[in-house]
Symmetry: C2
Amino acid sequence: MNVFVIGIGLIGGSFAIDIKAAFDEAVIYGVDQNETHLDQALSLNIIDHKSTIEDISQADIVIVAIPVDATVNILPMILDMIDEDCLVFDVGSTKQKLCVSVEQHDKRRNYLAAHPIAGTEFSGPQAAIANLYRGKTNIICEIEKTAFKLQEKGMEIFSRLGMRIRYMDPASHDKHIAYVSHLSHISSFMLGKTVIEKEKNERDIFDMAGSGFASTVRLAKSSPAMWTPIFKHNKENVIETLEEYITNLNQFKELIENNDYEEIYKEMENTNHIRTILKGIA
Amino acid sequence: MNVFVIGIGLIGGSFAIDIKAAFDEAVIYGVDQNETHLDQALSLNIIDHKSTIEDISQADIVIVAIPVDATVNILPMILDMIDEDCLVFDVGSTKQKLCVSVEQHDKRRNYLAAHPIAGTEFSGPQAAIANLYRGKTNIICEIEKTAFKLQEKGMEIFSRLGMRIRYMDPASHDKHIAYVSHLSHISSFMLGKTVIEKEKNERDIFDMAGSGFASTVRLAKSSPAMWTPIFKHNKENVIETLEEYITNLNQFKELIENNDYEEIYKEMENTNHIRTILKGIA
């Protein structure tokens, strides 16, 4: 089973590691614009061979794990070149533009739109880890548009990697994920920015900030190369979530301005309900 | 050494545990309005005896670990009642109002204003843990106003508990801590609120949210009873940080609206610098 991983970073690399462990017959081919990453992936034993997009006709499985705008560009080309029994799936954080981009493609049935909700704030092949996907949700869009045999092939991989599957249409996916993922990233980046702007003396930040601050700004370490295209693809939904978030922040500010501490207490108490939700995640 | 801990929750309880371990001669007396918490603390062996504020004249050390508004009310009374060799320190997240409230007190020299930057999002005696303070920063305000012998007494405790000491005036403390702590909590609470309002189906949140979301909203589990008085005490600083944060969010939203993805990339790249800062914390 020849598995081509396009983009051998945190996400693609972690797929490579787990697939190699789960399938004796798997041979992993890495494709990446970044030659250093390819060499690292090879020396870390994440991939078996360095390869290029030109050899993709030999693939049984293609995993596209690059920024979402690059995926939109390359996906039709990959579909053009692959063997007819080959399954191509991507792992991007937006799904609608991708699904639309291959809607009319002759080989649409070879493509599976996936979004594994897994990752860390790190990037590159050295960030790839085993079992990243175990117990995580994988959101599959437009499953009915993928050939039945290739659905099975994909599900076999996701199942052996320990993922839970949820089916969703691309529009709903992009709308919900804006709330539970994209907004968190912006909130974190802007929090980091606000503090960095104010606290010119880094030593002071180290000393005064605790684990709470670290937790809240952790996502501000994320890769701009990956996240810029996500905000571009999901522009309308992201703007909507941001507007609601800003409205809530303004309301909270007004409560403080008006010394309405009873209401502030209630706001926080109501939101404490997040404990139950987070238990479901952790 | 009789140690009276007023408020035997996460913070006070963790002090009790570590002081008991570090000082053979320490006898811990718990004082709390919540009788259930007192009983829990006793059965968890966090305190040696249940006590009341009336017995505080027997104390060698008093640790005040209750919400900051309650501390302002009770602190002068405690100072009235204690023995002249007794050290009283508080651990609140705001310092200015407290320092002002005892400025003219006859026993001002018995008080040490402290803020250990340590904690978790949990509360109550069952949340108390050993070594919570090891390696953490303890910010001391107006050290010169505490009697020299009592400074030593306090430092001996902080040192045995493994804390690093930083000295700061109360106004600077309240200003900086608004950025690196209070703002994070509001950001987290409002993020939680925004998502909960939108996603009525909790199952959907569980399934779609990953560790990134969990990390960003973790602080929204925090206690409203503790945090409402903090926002009240630090009103002006908190409003200022909130305004800057909201301005940054609005600017980011405008960049998305204007499709200025180059600038969005740069914003995130600049903020990635937080990696260095977080290394200093972790």
